[in-house]
């Protein structure tokens, strides 16, 4: 058996957090052959993560060959992760992305993202919701983070 990235203690903590999971979440992973080392770690991490709860699912794509999907989700980096809602068989994209290995501090951010998407609610104030609903042009937010 190859060694797991998530040990029993961490899996236990994730299970505790996932008590708050509501609706199904689809995770789309985009990797590439060029930086396979980064991509493999991320993919393995996500594979172990979705095994924890049946409401989570994972689909793996290659940025080089899955052109249509890459275009649909506007993926321009690898490893690239889309955290989307799953309604029956339909993936509903909320525009939520993570680029890079979701390790360290960013692993908790990923868990939070999953919980948020699962709850189908942004938790934002009415004022912010109003503004965002009435946007006249696309809004692209990039939050730069580090794992430490």
């Amino acid at each position: 058996m190859p060694e797991k990235l998530l040990n029993d203690q961490i899996v236990g903590q994730i299970r505790e957090a996932f008590v708050d999971l509501k609706e199904p979440v689809a995770i789309l992973f985009f990797g590439s052959k060029e930086n396979w080392e980064y991509c493999d770690d991320s993919r393995l991490l996500l594979e172990e993560l979705v095994e924890i709860d049946e409401r989570l699912s994972l689909t793996v794509y290659d940025i080089g060959s899955d052109i249509e999907v890459v275009k649909l989700y506007q993926i321009d980096k690898t490893p690239g992760i889309v955290i989307a809602a799953l309604d029956g068989n339909q993936i509903i994209d909320f525009g939520i992305r993570y680029s890079g290995i979701p390790s360290g501090h960013e692993f908790s951010t990923l868990i939070q993202d999953i919980l948020l998407v699962s709850g189908r609610d942004s938790g934002l104030t009415p004022q912010t919701r109003d503004f965002l609903k009435n946007l006249q042009k696309p809004l692209h937010l990039q939050v730069f983070v580090t794992p430490t």
């Binding site: 909320f94 680029s99 890079g100 946007l135 990039q142 939050v143």
Partner: protein, 60 residues
């Protein structure tokens, strides 16, 4: 989430994408870059401050 057709919110691991971090002058994290540099917020600020900067950047 509030307007998926218009909004893309992306977390970017700064050290894995150094060219992008350099382009937007990332010196501390978290740093939020709005519309490829039209606006910037450094630090984890309250929601209303982030909204104010998004509103300002969206006018550009």
């Amino acid at each position: 989430m509030e307007n998926p057709a218009m909004i893309r919110a992306e977390g970017v691991e700064a050290m894995e994408f150094p060219e992008l971090s350099e382009k937007y002058g990332v010196s501390g994290v978290p740093q939020t870059t709005i519309n490829d540099g039209d606006g910037t917020v450094v630090g984890a600020v309250p929601e209303q401050n982030l909204l104010a900067e998004i509103m300002r950047a969206s006018k550009k």
